[in-house]
Symmetry: C2
């Protein structure tokens, strides 16, 4: 009776599968929250009270009764009526003309990103991202053995000149860059939005160096200012942009309905891959989102979300101005996050640990979102899920700890 030596059975890819660097922090927060009231700026999620659960209760009850095949498989790429609605949604909300054939419904935007890895990324390939970028995209693409290089951002998002410079350098070195990944609006973790005037430039650079662009639009519908930002996809005349869509940040992350949209050459492969991977997206969830889109409810939920989160954002910014004078931080016009820069000698990982331990405030170090060492002193603060009446107090405590550590 010998137990097998499991490590011997693991694939070489398994070595590339790393634990999420923020998982430990998340566990600590969960443990602490059991005994103390924690003010949390940790999550990257919608406020549960903004999600229209009463409406979902009603709709899902109707749908289970009405749709005979709701408990059975749908096509692997999604219910055709939903794909039609998504095409209409992209037209209405994103100015993108596309066809249902170009759409694959996925388990949130995350699965679309993983699918892109499976279809496009080989070991040794290089991928460019904003620096910092979404930690889970970095993690999941590392499963495919790629190298990831971050491009610096400023207040207006990704810096096109830096992108050009990097691509030029890599091209000279003979490195194969396949794509640029950008969360163009309300980026996670920075909260920054790529300025409209830069967007055309980014597309031109992609064309110049013949790379694809993966545009993650997760936060596109949480725009707090009356500014114009067009999706890269809507401006793309060459078919370089693969669009990753998600209803998660407005309708709820738990539903797990997102999609991949792009050129047929890639989408057809995605459909082929997806069938045996998981058969289809959860069918009752597909019908629920279909009904929400059909009933034109999305816009109302979105407006309520924007109103709620704009208020929370303002509370957070005001509190930062009040309690953290002189600190460097981002001012989001969209999304769910603010970054703050601690003094250079303070490590964000340590800071957030003490903050939780001593001050009952939860935040996530932004460090693992960086592709290099430049984010050691940066902390990500979420405002969407934070409790309105505790934001001021939470930031005050951050100020307290900062004072404690710097004096």
């Amino acid at each position: 009776m010998t137990r097998p030596d499991y490590y011997k059975f693991l694939s070489s890819r398994a070595n590339l599968i790393e634990p999420s660097p923020i998982r430990e922090m998340v566990s600590k927060i969960a443990v602490k929250s059991k005994t103390r009231q924690v003010i949390s700026f940790a999550a990257g999620e919608p406020d549960p009270d903004v999600i229209p659960r009463e409406l979902y209760a009603e709709l899902s009850s109707e749908l289970f009764k009405k749709v005979r095949i709701i408990g059975n498989y749908s096509p692997a790429d999604g219910v055709i009526d939903l794909k039609n609605e998504i095409a209409g949604f992209m037209k209405e909300f994103e100015g993108v003309s596309t066809n249902p054939e170009n759409i694959v419904v996925t388990l949130g935007g995350s699965q679309a990103i993983d699918l892109i890895g499976r279809l496009l990324l080989d070991p040794g390939d290089m991928v460019l991202t904003e620096n910092p970028s979404y930690v889970n995209t970095l993690l999941v693409w590392k499963h495919y053995g790629v190298q990831i290089k971050g491009i610096p951002m400023d207040d207006h998002g990704l810096i096109p000149e830096e992108l050009d410079k990097t691509l030029s350098k890599l091209s000279k070195e003979g490195k194969r860059v396949k794509l640029l990944y950008t969360i163009s609006t309300g980026q996670n973790p920075s909260g920054l939005t790529l300025a409209q005037e830069r967007r055309k430039h980014v597309l031109e650079i992609a064309s110049k160096y013949d790379i694809l662009v993966v545009e993650d639009t997760a936060y596109n519908h949480l725009l707090y200012e009356p500014i114009e930002v067009k999706t890269l996809r809507s401006m793309d005349k060459e078919g370089r942009v693969i669009y990753v869509g998600s209803f998660s940040k407005v309708l709820g992350t738990g539903l797990r309905i997102g999609w991949l949209e792009g050129p047929l050459e890639i989408v057809e492969k995605a459909k082929m891959a997806k069938g045996p991977m998981d058969m289809c997206p959860p069918v009752p969830m597909q019908y629920l989102v279909l009904e929400v889109l059909r009933n034109k409810v999305f816009k109302h939920v979105k407006e309520r979300a924007i109103e709620t989160y704009r208020l929370k954002r303002d509370l957070m910014i005001n509190a930062i101005e009040k309690y953290l004078p002189g600190i460097k931080y981002t001012r989001p016009v969209a999304g769910m996050f603010v970054l703050i820069w601690l003094p250079r000698n303070i490590e964000a990982a340590q800071f957030t640990e003490i903050l939780l331990e001593k001050y009952d405030v939860a935040a996530i170090p932004a460090t693992p979102f960086y592709t290099d060492e430049s984010g050691r002193n940066v902390v990500r603060l979420n405002f969407s899920m934070a409790k309105t009446d505790l934001i001021d107090e939470g930031i005050r405590r951050i100020g307290e700890l900062l004072k404690e550590l710097t004096t």
Copy 2:
């Protein structure tokens, strides 16, 4: 304005992603069904009228109102209460003692199988399956570049002596076999069940050659005869069996709730991988299944399914005896399928095409389920989703076509 040459961007793995060989047939059936009443033996799914949709309507309405965080993320490996219930379920229905820590909730059994590929399979590795085996498992593991070898079956399922012989041969050739994949009960596509007295032997062989066993239990709960079949997992003393569980075949394939259970060394890696792959299984679906398990409804749904499908199976077998005298076929004690062997000179693919075209009867060639050429004349018939009052007529028409082709 040049469109990119997309094929240049595809990964080397993308070449391993093949279209499902039964996809074309499925499309043809869908098209035909629009204009004609097709008698279908094609699907591999529960009867929509067995799925308790009224109950789901009620439960999901309650859950959306009651569970505040139902629209938000759950842990990547699933809601902890659901994992507890699944551990209890495995004890009650499968005689397996395990812990919630050893469980990862997945998007149906399919995702568990894909996850096993990601964690364990390297290009060039060899995987053994029953011959024939589930076509989607073959397809998705091919994404990982593995070689698949099928082990012959007889009426009692996989033949242990053949397994031993194959492993001995491969071992002498220096080939690395990582695992045996078995759908031990009510196998898809054969309908066969691995005889209880063979199960111990299969485990001994796995131990002898130091390979793992992936036991796909999708059809375990659809057992039509009062025979004893223990899961390999429950008999495994060494920790060689990775268990793939699914509620799909009883509660509905559309919910997409399955799980992976196994040794911590592998399950921990699965948890790490799964987070960034898709964040979490759909949360309302997790709570729905949780309620079904908590309310002890599973057993009732299962009993109703068994009663319905047993009747359909008997109708199918009787019709085969009546209209296809002398034909070789499998007699399932579990699952959803019967295989029939056409005369050697008739190709199943062609036969099923004419059958649909001329006789309005849909069936799936079993050929792509085989790992070699031996299944060219084999057709898979599903009885679970077939309409009770049309089974006899459908098989009669198969008999008609056979007569037409052989006289």
